[in-house]
Amino acid sequence: MWSRNALACCSKQSRAACAQLRSRTLATVTDAAGPSSAPTSTPKASPSRSSKASIQAAVVLNRSPIITRTPNPLERAYYAYQSRIQRALFNPFPDEFYFRPGSILEGQFNAEEKQREKLAFGGPSVKEKPIQTLVDSDDQVGKQQQQPMPRIHEADIKGDVRSLDRQMERNLYLLVHGKDSAGKDVWRFPQGGVEEGQALHQAAERDLYAECGEDMDTWVVSRKPIGVMEPSSASASSPQAYVFFYKAHILAGQATPNGKTVKDLAWLTKEEIESRVDQQYWASVKDMLSDS
């Protein structure tokens, strides 16, 4: 199931967040980062909070699904049923247009087609394996040995969360283990501060590069953030930050932790992220992540 609510929530949340930010005087937030600006413009909004809050940019780095989703039993039964209807109704295949009459290829095709027909409408006594055709060559032997690649990667069996090949049917997101804006060791998305005069989307790209290394090609999807995490009112004493999230895709390579701010990393699905991050962080990021 695809998260329609995620899309709706993201846009709504970011819009609501921006509206809130405006009412809380965004200018004071940026002023806090750069002490050179005039503090006189700060209006009545809670002064202890706005003096400490800063802006940070984070990147939700996504690895898209590599293979199609495995259909569930109902879907499989449905597709099988529809395929049989299609086979029963389709127009006759123009053999003479595609094969020279009496050629080996035509005989092979007809034999295979007969077997397929039998599989579709024959009943329970039909064996699953197709009957060997009379034509026997090296190609046939090679075809028999060909098997589709497994849909489960070694990384899934080993439980290697750093591998990009795990959970091939799902959207994966890069989570890093490092210090957050308050200096605590947490699991979070790659993030960093915004320098004076730097655009937010450029800051996001630079921070991802700084934390996860140069060994990968990424693409930040848009210049607009997809969501924001506001500082919690509970921990008013610690330094606080508005974290703006950007969506990005990994195109090639692999992330490598820089060892300083980031110690470890993991490629996780939405459910796995929930168990690693704290409650407040999860509440603000969960609608940006895809359920599929």
Partner: protein, 300 residues
């Protein structure tokens, strides 16, 4: 979106069935069906073929492209400008204009309307693909359209009312609409076209992108306009992206390649990608969607 569905690890699910074998034997026929005038059995119900497999590109659109396109096309307008009312062409109080078609002054300007605010429900989406070609030889010799029709049938897999779908038109013959000397004649067949929708549309797109375009010689991408071009020109305000394929590219379709000798002559074609993008900058949004499906565009 129940929690139970998301909690089940999907890679544990059994692999897809290898065959389309029924679960049990078909019931014995006790009373034969009625036959129509051509001897074909008439079923008791209207049998319609629906999807027979999960479509890869359609999944890709739902998983990845839809989110990305929303983020890319979203415009942040906290305080939208009020729309200036355009007076109608005729005075609506005038009794002479009471039942008359009364468009706004200066035309409807549908290509000039600003983009609606982007929500999860109106993200740009591929609606259909139309293949179209004109066979000039058909002007003198109607039967020269036959290979064109055969090739379109092979490429698209569409036939008229295929799978009992009433709206599927299959390959259609295009007839001349006017008399123009040496070019068209009224009512004379001069070309063929086929509309693709749904899974077959995505199949065609993946074949085009995976097998055909990488093998076209000296191909750097489909040309597009300079960035300086205004977004409110009639062309930029349309959500239809049209590209052209040369005759030698036709041989790269696997469906044609398998018996290339059967076609006496290769022909080029127009491919129209019809999207639901509308209004100013719609062409750019439609191209953004297509490049998400790996159709290459380049400024030349």
């Amino acid at each position: 979106m129940s929690a139970a569905v998301t909690k089940v690890p999907r890679h544990i699910a059994p692999p897809a069935a290898q065959s389309i074998r029924p679960t049990r034997a078909a019931p014995r026929i006790r009373k034969p069906l009625k036959r129509d005038e051509r001897g074909r059995p008439i079923p008791h119900v209207n049998v319609i073929v629906r999807d027979t497999y999960a479509c890869r590109l359609s999944d890709h659109y739902r998983n990845t492209l839809r989110d990305d396109l929303m983020y890319m096309t979203y415009t942040h307008e906290p305080n939208p400008k009020p729309v200036r009312p355009v007076p109608p062409r005729f005075d609506p109080n005038d009794p002479y204009a009471k039942f008359r078609y009364n468009p706004p002054l200066g035309g409807t300007q549908s290509f000039n309307v600003p983009q609606d605010s982007v929500t999860a429900d109106n993200i740009v989406q591929l609606e259909r693909i139309q293949l179209h070609t004109m066979a000039k030889e058909a002007f003198g010799n109607r039967s020269s359209l036959l290979p064109v029709i055969m090739a379109f049938r092979a490429i698209s897999g569409e036939t008229e009312h295929s799978g009992g779908q009433r709206t599927v038109e299959g390959v259609q013959i295009v007839k001349g609409k006017q008399n123009i000397g040496g070019w068209t004649r009224l009512g004379h067949p001069i070309g063929a076209k086929v509309d693709l929708k749904g899974p077959k549309m995505y199949d065609f797109l993946s074949v085009l992108v995976d097998f055909v375009l990488p093998r076209v010689r000296d191909f750097r991408g489909f040309p597009m306009q300079l960035p300086s071009q205004a977004l409110t020109l009639p062309h930029s305000g349309s959500g239809v992206v049209s590209i052209g394929l040369s005759p030698d590219a036709l041989a790269f379709f696997p469906q044609i390649e398998v018996n290339l000798d059967a076609y006496p002559k290769l022909f080029g074609m127009h491919i129209h990608f019809v999207t639901n993008a509308f209004g100013a900058g719609a062409q750019n949004r439609a191209r953004a969607l297509l490049s998400g499906f790996r159709v290459p565009f380049a400024r030349v």
